[in-house]
């Protein structure tokens, strides 16, 4: 069965600092990986997704993520965070031709002024 672990429930970063949010997945075949963001009292929005090819994928608002098969990871990064990046970030995994998507527990990001 596929699973996703986001080991950090909460992360606090100063505005302008760099960011990494961790995601580890468990799946036997090559997974489809996603990062979604949820702003307060809203639905989720896609930041980026990875299927194959270049392990570093670019997303919206300056976010990128790096896929590592050897580490079973898909960490999210941003070079310089802004206060508006405060939100909950979810990593998700699925497999080809399957309607089931498994989400991690989420990481709540707080940006300090």
């Amino acid at each position: 069965a596929q699973s996703v672990t986001q080991p950090d429930a909460r992360v606090t970063v100063s505005e302008g600092a760099s960011l990494q949010l961790r995601c580890k997945y468990s799946y036997s075949a090559t997974p489809y990986l996603f990062w979604y963001v949820q702003y307060p009292r809203q639905g989720l929005q896609l930041l980026l997704k990875y299927y194959s090819g270049d392990p570093v994928v670019q997303g919206v608002n300056g976010f990128e993520a790096e896929f590592s098969k050897s580490n079973s990871s898909f960490h999210l990064r941003k070079a310089s965070v802004h206060w508006s990046d405060s939100a909950v970030y979810f990593c998700a995994v699925s497999n080809y031709g399957n309607e089931k998507i498994t989400f991690g527990a989420g990481t709540k990001l707080t940006i300090k002024p």
């Binding site: 009292r41 809203q42 639905g43 989400f103 527990a105 989420g106």
Partner: protein, 114 residues
């Protein structure tokens, strides 16, 4: 442009009462539709999905049912609410397989069961 509308925005209901939540997608023909549940401060649990009118697949039941009476409408319901049903319900749509495509979420319905 595609829009997804969920109703109601919020509900406060008594244990044992019935519930009906709705979701409508405009601007997209024959989307795949999904219901997710999110406990307060928790992750998302996929409940149901539908790839065509009249067909709904259950992922996790939680004493809830879903129906797709029209191509653009997805309904989540139960005849008897439990305390454990409280949380945030999200409807989403995608093109073809969700595993390969972006999920587009509605703004959600916040349900409090007392």
């Amino acid at each position: 442009a595609q829009t997804i509308h969920q109703w109601p925005v919020a509900e406060i209901k008594a244990v044992g009462s019935p519930l009906s939540l709705g979701c409508t997608i405009k601007g997209k023909s024959s989307p795949n539709l999904y219901w997710y549940w999110q406990a307060t401060g928790g992750t998302l649990q996929q409940l149901f999905y539908s790839i065509t009118v009249g067909q709904v697949e259950s992922v996790v039941q939680l004493n809830l049912s879903a129906s797709r009476p029209k191509d653009d409408q997805f309904i989540l319901s139960t005849e008897k609410l439990l305390l454990s049903h409280s949380g945030f319900y999200l409807c989403a749509w995608s093109l073809l397989w969700a595993s390969q495509n972006t999920l587009y979420f509605g703004a959600g319905t916040r349900l409090s069961v007392l």
